[in-house]
Amino acid sequence: MKISLLRNPLIWLFVVFAIFPIAATAINQTYYLSFISKVMVFGIAALGLNLVLGFGGMVSLGHAAFVGVGAYAVGLCMHYGVTNGWVHFGLAIGVGALSSLLIGALCLRAGGISFIMLTLAFAQLLFFLGVGLKQYGGDDGFSFRGHSEFFSWLQLEDVRVMYWVILACLALTVLVVGRSTRSGFGLALRGVKSNEGRAQSIGLHTYRHKLAAFVLSGMFCSLSGALLANLTQFVSPSYMHFSRSAELLLMILLGGISSLLGPVVGAAAFIVLEESLGHITPHWQAPMGLAIVLIVLFARNGLIDLAMAVVVRFKRKRS
């Protein structure tokens, strides 16, 4: 579907989001900036994971580990006095790529439940590694002062600048994921998800393709982790816990597994739900758990699909 740049709703959406900080500062509502920044950071991770889940058909229970890797890259650099942002992010994405290459190469040798279990095992390994490193806070993690430094005019201390940097990263992620899924690589990936045996019969080295998707998704997750560390100025093994991986999966499902923006919408919905329930009761995990059960049972195709269904019904009523 070809739409000219000016009429593409996606572009307008990004324009709105770009202007938002200015408007927010004007009316003194900057709290929402960090909130939306957090949503966008998880949106990046969810988009990365969906490359593997929605388009590749691989259920990974361990992608939060890559988020943690990215976060620790930044945190450890700061801990040792390295403040150069290029080093931070280069290291984060580089180590993210390497770890997802190694982990993916091993996990993808198995299929089905074994694959799922292997991803979980590796995530747990990294989690316990983080917990065991007592000099970096172990279980409690550690916080640090300052942010990644890029240029003298790019001060991440300013909430608005941080917001714009994250927005730019999100835009980049959407662009890359969108392009790769519509490209030849995306077609191959969808083919493998649909019928791996047939894909092999026509000559495709399916292992290589799945691995490439796995590494790409790992890199986006580690980017997300690096941004998260900057946002919270805190790093802990909890970023890598299995429940965080499950939350990422939930975000994707909530928003819609087969759409491009679904994971971002899902991340927003999940975090909004978490926050608002948290304000209502300290026991927010009970209704949250219940909400998860109900949504997956009854609104399986996610919010985007639900919204589309509503739009379709509305259009039908009018005509």
Partner: protein, 252 residues
């Protein structure tokens, strides 16, 4: 023998105590249509599986186009020109009909690591894919999701995908299975048109098609190749009659 595209020697496979492929020798020449017939359970699909690499061999050698492919994985054999269509339709249900064939064309051309360009813009993929769809009669359904086609149309798509790989040898596992008379006749005509340019190893029960297409026929009974010959020779062969009519089982 010098023009043998496929050379199979002593292929053997057992599942526990049951021998399913029993020392099979087989050869297919370039451009030949070699049919493989036999009663149900004779091990024809197993044999095809061993040839494509989906099933491991216990013993024996397979040579394709001069190369020893015995140890190669499925996708490598496909890249060498060994194509296959499946008995139980194996297509990409979630993709559109056009995408199904474009995928095969893309893999054949070796360009599956392109990350930027949208696939529908690539004329190098769309044009040959549409041509193939035209050949099997599915051009009008190009933008439909594959899952929504009828069974017969699935079988046609199955063939289109197999052809898109530009195979030198096409292993056809009961392509007429479940097809009506019209569709069978149409497919037979299509395969006849391909004779000479693509070699085929055809597993079929539909005797009309077999007799119309085959240059040579091999008979497989209980995993053993019993006899090979021209259609006329096979029709008259006493062993074949015995195997099909089943009077008293099989000698040897």
């Amino acid at each position: 023998m010098t023009t043998s595209l496929l050379l199979v020697r002593g292929l053997y496979k057992r599942y526990g105590g049951l021998v399913v492929t029993n020392n099979v020798d087989l050869d297919v020449a370039s451009g030949e249509v070699h049919a493989l017939i036999g009663p149900n359970g004779a091990g024809k699909t197993t044999l095809l599986g061993q040839l494509t690499g989906n099933l491991p061999n216990d013993a024996g050698k397979i040579y394709f186009d001069g190369c020893d492919i015995t140890g190669l994985p499925t996708h490598s054999r496909a890249r060498l020109g060994l194509g296959r269509s499946f008995q139980i339709t194996s297509i990409f249900h979630e993709l559109t009909v056009l995408e199904n064939v474009m995928f095969a064309v893309q893999v054949q051309s070796g360009h599956s690591f392109r990350f930027w360009r949208p696939v529908e813009d690539s004329q190098k993929l769309v044009t040959p894919a549409m041509a193939l769809l035209d050949r099997v009669g599915l051009a009008d359904h190009a933008s439909l999701t594959a899952a929504n086609l009828s069974h017969g149309q699935h079988r046609q798509l199955e063939i289109a995908i197999a052809l898109a790989c530009k195979p030198k040898l096409l292993l056809l596992d009961e392509p007429m299975a479940g097809m009506g008379i019209e569709d069978s006749a149409r497919l037979t005509k299509m395969l006849q048109a391909m004779k000479g340019s693509v070699a085929m190893l055809l597993v079929e029960h539909d005797m009309t098609a077999v007799m119309a297409l085959a240059d040579r026929i091999s008979v497989l009974v209980y995993g053993q190749r019993v006899v090979t010959g021209t259609p006329a020779e096979i029709r008259a062969h006493p062993e074949v009659r015995k195997a099909y009519l089943g009077d008293g089982g099989l000698s040897s």
